[in-house]
Amino acid sequence: MSPDVGNDGGSQELVARKCDEGHYSFTDQDACPRCGTELSMEKDLSDTSGKVVAATVSRATPDGVRTPNPLATVEFNLEEGTVTKTGQLTENAVREGELVVESGDLVEPVYVEQLRDTGESFKHEESQGWGGYRFCPVN
């Protein structure tokens, strides 16, 4: 695991948390983002495959972000429900300019130290952490 840079409300880890009301999230915030109750359970999903729920290729990217930037919302199955996360897909998700990942495909998390170039980004590099997991298609 890479250490987080400050408490920015966005975990660089892939740890699902469950609140007292049963909501799952990847939050590292102080309470459940949906209902405000205490977070009590943690499960590391960094070695777990997830299923693509939605995917896109961002083709007009901001300064400091790769072009194109394939992205997906991925759902992970847990014992009593599911948890979802939106993030970058690995480069091989785009071939000859076309997205080759679609809803229902399996992907696995791959850690990347820096997801975008902070020198080019509007937000200052000290504003938050920049590492995180991309999702790689499982062949």
Binding site: G9, G10, A54, T56, T61, T86, S103
Partner: protein, 402 residues
């Protein structure tokens, strides 16, 4: 109870004026259109999302009060792209509480000077850090939502194109709109891909512009009317705002916006209306699919059925349910007579006020050739980010029984 007695707007588009100049222009139009003397304005509420971040005036409320010659206390209200409605809500609170009798609310944004890449990054800084680090932008969210909407409902890519076509057609009758050209479905479907499956014409443009409204209390309105004032008046029947999670992936689904549903519920309840009472609706259609999702969350269609709006002429209008002040049967009012964000343009913190300006002008029959016949109840929905917050406003014609 607060009443709107005057409105002002700049034209929306790629403009040469600075942020402060744009906001002053709209404010002066609004004051000059009214019977109110500027030194009789008790409070100024300014709305601007990213002025300093975009290299414009920071703390624009102080620039404005000084430039406009308003002695009443000024403040700035922020709620990202829902800043306009948030400022309007603040103005209503000042009047409803009895603190102020006359309040000027002005929203503005200057965006085109930065170029798309930079302005997109500045706007993206409002999203959750966990999403920002992945390079997510508002258009990228839109692409994910549209992919899911098409996969999980019976909506087609062509249905989304029809949303853009409708709004561009309506904007032709709005001289303040950014776009003054018709679009065909083919134009939309052949425009460059921005975030698959969405293309350039699925999105609102980058826009400069400002809008302003002047609101007064019951007492002040009565005094004005007794002294012979003849301006059009609309009533603020309700303004309700609610929030949702900051990170979109923390929600059950991005296809239904809790902030819209709950602000709708509160606003309809406070105003005592149902969807059947609404004559005109201004939506926050930052991208095409969002217009359909809002129609569902505002109660006009059941979940996943909003695409029926663009196929309504081939639809038999069969009802598919009802609940809390909503019909869900596709009986829709006139939507976005202004052209909406899609074609009127979207200067972030001015948009919510531009929606109120449109409702006021519709209710007071001041909307020119786009005036909706006998419109007495209007609703506007203004969103912050992708549903981080939503504000639903109900405006109506004073004294009209429902």
């Amino acid at each position: 109870m607060a009443y709107v007695v005057s409105t002002g707007m700049t034209g929306f588009g790629d403009r040469d004026e600075s942020l402060g100049e744009l906001m002053a222009l709209a404010a002066n139009h609004c004051i000059e259109n009214s019977d109110v003397d500027r030194n009789g304005i008790d409070g100024l509420v300014a709305s601007n999302a990213l002025g300093g971040e975009m290299g414009m005036q920071t703390g624009v409320q102080n620039y404005l009060s000084s430039r406009l010659g308003i002695n009443g206390y000024s403040r700035r209200v922020g709620q990202t792209s829902a800043g306009g409605a948030a400022a309007f809500k603040e103005g209503c609170s000042l009047v409803d509480s009895g603190k102020d009798d006359v309040v000027l609310v002005v929203g503005g944004e200057k965006m085109t000077h930065l170029g798309t890449s930079r302005s997109s990054d500045v706007i993206s800084s409002v999203i959750h850090p966990d999403e920002y680090r992945h390079g997510l932008t508002m258009p990228a969210f839109a692409g994910l939502v549209a992919d899911l909407y098409i996969n999980e409902t019976d909506a087609t890519r062509k249905d989304l194109a029809r949303v853009a076509v409708e709004n561009h057609g309506k904007a032709l009758r709005n001289p303040d709109a950014q776009f003054g050209k018709d679009l065909s479905e083919e134009d939309v479907l052949n425009s460059p891909l921005v975030a698959d499956p969405l293309r350039l014409y699925d999105f609102c443009p980058t826009t400069d512009g400002a809008a302003a409204v002047l609101m007064v209390s019951d007492d002040r309105l009565r005094e004005d009317l007794e002294s012979g004032a003849s301006h059009g008046v609309s009533r603020v029947a309700a303004v309700a705002g609610t929030n949702d999670t900051h990170a979109v992936h923390d929600r059950d689904t991005p296809l239904s916006l809790k902030a819209v549903r709950e602000s709708r519920r509160d606003a309809y309840q406070e105003a005592g209306i149902s969807t059947e009472d609404i004559d005109v609706l201004e939506l926050h259609d930052m991208f095409t699919a969002l217009e359909l999702i809002q129609l569902e969350d505002l109660g006009f269609y059941n979940h996943g059925k909003g695409w029926r709006y663009v196929r309504r002429e081939e639809d038999n209008g069969s009802s598919d349910g009802s609940s809390d002040g909503t019909t869900g049967d596709g009986d829709v009012p006139v939507i976005n007579p202004s052209g909406g964000l899609k074609a009127r343009g979207h200067p972030l913190a001015a948009t919510g006020l531009a929606q109120i300006v449109e409702l006021h002008r519709q209710i007071t029959n001041e909307a020119g050739e786009r005036t909706v016949n006998d419109a007495s109840v209007g609703v506007a929905c203004n969103l912050a980010g992708y549903g981080n917050a939503a504000i639903t406003t109900v405006m109506d014609e004073p004294g009209v029984e429902r």
